[in-house]
Symmetry: C2
Subunit: 101 residues, 2 copies
């Protein structure tokens, strides 16, 4: 079952172009994770937050990724990580042009 | 600038197929909202939560939608709505196959 993972956390930068450059190797690694269909990288310089929205092919892959990624974030000094897992309602999402593949 | 809106809230159903049927008219309305590119409908029967991940073409459309939708949810009895707005980091999202269109 398609599973959405929402992660966000306090983050004091870099944002924007600098973030793109600093995190490029991490992004190239993340897209190879088992079960991951896509990730949108999110950032908010005004509120000093960053995170991501992920679509996984199944709940188990999403849970494994969350455990690994939370440990990686914590190791890099990020705390107060907020994460939520959801099933996707496919018919309603398709009406709303949701990118499920 | 592309803007992600994350919304979730406590919800005691219906979930799954029943939710799809009950919410179909709302989904057909939501996809006509100004600036909305897509919405993925999210649900978690185990934690009794539901919500959505939205991609808007710009921050202003996302803010207007959030104000309208929060009022609509509150009017239907939903409280404790958690909502977050984020800019999208396009280069990192594209590396991760993020559906930005």
């Amino acid at each position: 079952m398609l599973t959405v993972l929402q992660i966000d956390f306090p983050f004091n930068g870099p944002f924007g172009e600098e973030m793109s450059q600093a995190m490029q190797p991490l992004a190239e690694s993340i897209i190879t994770e088992p079960g991951l269909l896509w990730k949108i990288w999110t950032e908010n310089a005004a509120t000093q937050e960053a995170g991501g929205v992920y679509l996984f092919s199944d709940a188990s892959s999403a849970q494994s990724y969350l455990a690994m990624h939370s440990a990686r974030l914590a190791a890099s000094g990020v705390c107060d990580i907020r994460a939520k897992l959801f099933s996707v309602n496919n018919p309603l999402s398709l009406i709303c042009k949701g990118p499920l593949q």
